[in-house]
Symmetry: C2
Subunit: 112 residues, 2 copies
């Protein structure tokens, strides 16, 4: 595991980027369940929504891990999945940005 | 435990009443989550909905038990909670109806 130093300014950027991605993803989940409700008048749709929300909660809980020791990997995945842009990460040092981009490319390939 | 005999006609009535109550309750849950979404623009509302649906799933799983050995108690509770009316149970014999009404009154008192 790489030992990277995070300056106070970088920590602030990291926190904001993390919260922004999480917020975007929550909003997308909300839109999904609104679409599920709009798409079916069946009351039993509530159980489909429940399963979907439980799956998403597990996924987000695993994915959004704000520990500096794993944060490069977390940001790489969020970048690959489109929840973050490089702009959100502006201000991190070049080493970190390069690591994030490299690992993001690996995520993208593994998703393809 | 009382050993009651259920005629084929009574079994049919019981099934229909059970399904009708379950359907009403699912519809009410659906309306509740629609109201929760309408009442808050916050994306984090999805986790409140998730908790609510998990609670309701546990509650309904425990409550909707279609075994003839426990059905009098199940109907008593559904009647007390307003998910069933006596009309839904028309056609059951007098002994069963009396038992259901008596136990329903107990449920109502324990809720009060």
């Amino acid at each position: 595991m790489l030992e990277l130093k995070w300056s106070p300014a970088e920590k602030k950027i990291a926190h904001a980027a993390f919260e922004s991605a999480l917020s975007l993803e929550r909003t997308a989940i909300r839109r999904d369940i609104e679409a599920m409700l709009a798409g079916s008048a069946d009351a039993a749709e509530i159980w489909t929504i429940r399963d979907y929300l439980n799956d998403k909660a597990r996924e987000l809980d695993e994915k959004y891990d704000f520990r500096y020791s794993v944060l490069i990997g977390v940001f790489a995945r969020l970048l690959a999945d489109g929840w973050l842009t490089l702009e959100d990460l502006t201000g991190l040092d070049a080493t970190k940005l390069e690591l994030i981009c490299d690992r993001s490319a690996i995520w993208k390939r593994s998703d393809a």
